[in-house]
């Protein structure tokens, strides 16, 4: 009997369980571990402050796991890769032959001085990368009618790196519709030198910010949040005043990854970016946000990677060369307000470009351009996520990125 152990039953772990259960025979046992039984639709966190009911975001993890997979609901303490076993928080021991780490990334408000430990936390200082945070922010927005609103993210990498921009566009739209836009001063604060990391998208998104009269504070490396004077303070001495601060803190990997010595300084596991096999441990693969691959930490990446991962995993188990190479493909709908969204499609080597998607000239989606159909695509994705993506069904988008329809810069 061979044993596969999957750590984490989120987007990546659930997909891995579903895909591998159909591929591995009866001589394989599959066990998946997570601390609770709540699977969150994380893209929903963006909408909870505006309109999405909080209950709609959560479903039970085990409802999305196939028969023949054991679900262990327990905290993980440590991985012992040399002896190939995992220690749970209650001391229980789970042996494995092969391990998939899919424990994601987590926002760390404790890493910004004055955030989680400040008097204004969840009062005037908010985030929306947890359900609790989104709900608190929803309530804060309901009481906020005038003043200075800062939308900020501290440092890369964060999950869904476009979400702070999306929130900015959505909150601008909210106050515009309410007729309060002239009373609410909005600034987007970023450690990057523009609206986005890559030139073509940065220009497009920067233009959108200007059109909507949203200020941009770039190259802002946050030092701390001053709760007494209500300022966001950068290392170079800039102090931005706020009446409401939405700040996405830095992320790290799971605590057990850090405690096991498997992660880099942020707790992300170094992997071969094309095969997703851990650099130092051939019996460990890492799927989703938990690895250090240089692309977005996003569900779409986990999805595209999962498809290739399965073939590579099966080859590795059989002692054969791994046949597939992941290109870092990411595909993100970016809400831009006005019931429109942009679509980004990119990979390790190709920045987000303009064009049509998925078919050249036909679309129906347009890349890097706010359209209503992109917005509808974003909304439809919620059902796609639960019904197709998690069960590991094929989506009509290739795992590796295609240049079809894209305009070269």
């Amino acid at each position: 009997m061979n044993t596969l152990l999957i750590l984490g039953a989120g987007t990546a772990g659930t997909m891995a369980a579903n895909l591998l259960r159909t591929k591995l025979g009866d001589d394989w046992s599959i066990t998946i571990v997570d601390r609770d039984n709540e699977h969150h639709y994380q893209p929903g966190y963006l909408f909870v402050p505006f309109w999405m009911p909080e209950g709609r975001v959560v479903k039970e993890r085990d409802a999305f796991l196939p028969d023949g997979v054991d679900f262990v609901q327990r905290d993980i303490a440590r991985v012992h890769p040399d002896q190939r076993w995992v220690e749970l928080a209650d001391g229980q021991r789970l042996d494995y032959d092969w391990l998939v780490i899919a424990s994601g990334s987590r926002p760390r408000p404790d890493l910004v001085p004055g955030m989680a430990d400040g008097s204004l936390w969840r009062d005037k200082v908010h985030e929306f990368y947890t359900l609790e945070g989104s709900v608190a922010l929803r309530d804060a927005l309901a009481d906020f009618h005038e003043g200075r609103l800062l939308v900020h993210f501290a440092d890369q990498p964060i999950k869904c790196p476009v979400a702070p921009l999306e929130f900015t566009f959505l909150v601008e739209d909210k106050y515009r519709k309410a007729g309060l836009r002239h009373d609410v001063d909005i600034t987007y604060v970023t450690p990057l030198d523009g609206a986005f990391t890559k030139p073509v998208a940065s220009e497009t998104l920067g233009d959108l910010l200007r059109q909507r009269s949203i200020r941009l504070a770039a190259d802002f490396a946050v030092e701390r949040i001053d709760n007494d004077t209500q300022h966001l303070v950068s290392w170079d001495g800039r102090e931005l005043p706020f009446d409401l601060l939405v700040s996405i803190p830095p992320h790290t990997g799971a605590q057990f990854v850090m405690d096991s010595g498997l992660g880099d300084d942020l707790g992300f596991v170094p992997v071969d970016k094309h095969t997703l096999q851990a650099v130092d441990h051939e019996r460990i693969f890492v799927l989703g946000d938990a690895s250090d691959i240089p692309t977005s930490k996003a569900g779409s990446v986990a999805h595209f990677a999962a498809e290739l991962f399965v073939d590579n995993f099966l080859a590795a188990v059989a002692g054969e060369p791994m046949p597939r190479s992941f290109d870092g493909h990411a595909n993100c709908f970016v809400e831009s307000g006005r019931n429109q969204a942009l679509l980004l499609d990119f990979n390790y080597d190709t920045q987000p470009l303009t064009g049509t998607f998925p078919a050249a000239g036909v679309g129906p989606m347009r890349l890097l351009e706010p359209t209503r159909i992109n917005h509808l695509g974003k909304l439809a994705f919620e059902q796609v996520y639960w019904r197709l993506l998690l069960p590991g069904k094929r989506l009509p988008v290739p795992a590796n990125m295609s240049m079809a329809g894209k305009n070269e810069p």
Partner: protein, 104 residues
């Protein structure tokens, strides 16, 4: 790719002037470049550049300010004193590394 020449050294750069090949870098070249931005490269200025180069060689990416602090042990305020304004960008440029964008 554009090419820059400085005091007889030739190196390829991206559109913003950052090195595309770290192997074309040398400490002498860095000293010449530092003069262009009014900085004298003494030991205090060189230490973070050397960390950046070894860290980038090992991990394949220009380290962020946070990493300079967490892994390199540098004091962030001190880095701002040495390289006012945009320390990571200036240091990456002087160290012959790509612009530190982090990941998308």
């Amino acid at each position: 790719m554009p090419t820059n020449t400085l005091n007889g050294h030739t190196f390829t750069v991206d559109d913003e002037g950052f090195f595309t090949d770290p192997d074309q870098w040398s400490p002498e070249l860095a000293a010449d470049m530092a003069e262009l931005i009014g900085t004298e490269l003494d030991d205090a200025h060189m230490a973070p550049l050397e960390f950046m180069r070894s860290d980038a060689a090992e991990h394949g990416a220009t380290p962020t300010l946070r990493r300079m602090h967490a892994t390199g042990g540098f004091d962030i305020k001190e880095l701002y004193r040495l390289y006012p304004g945009k320390p990571v960008k200036k240091m990456a440029w002087l160290a012959g590394l790509p612009k530190p964008t982090g990941c998308v």
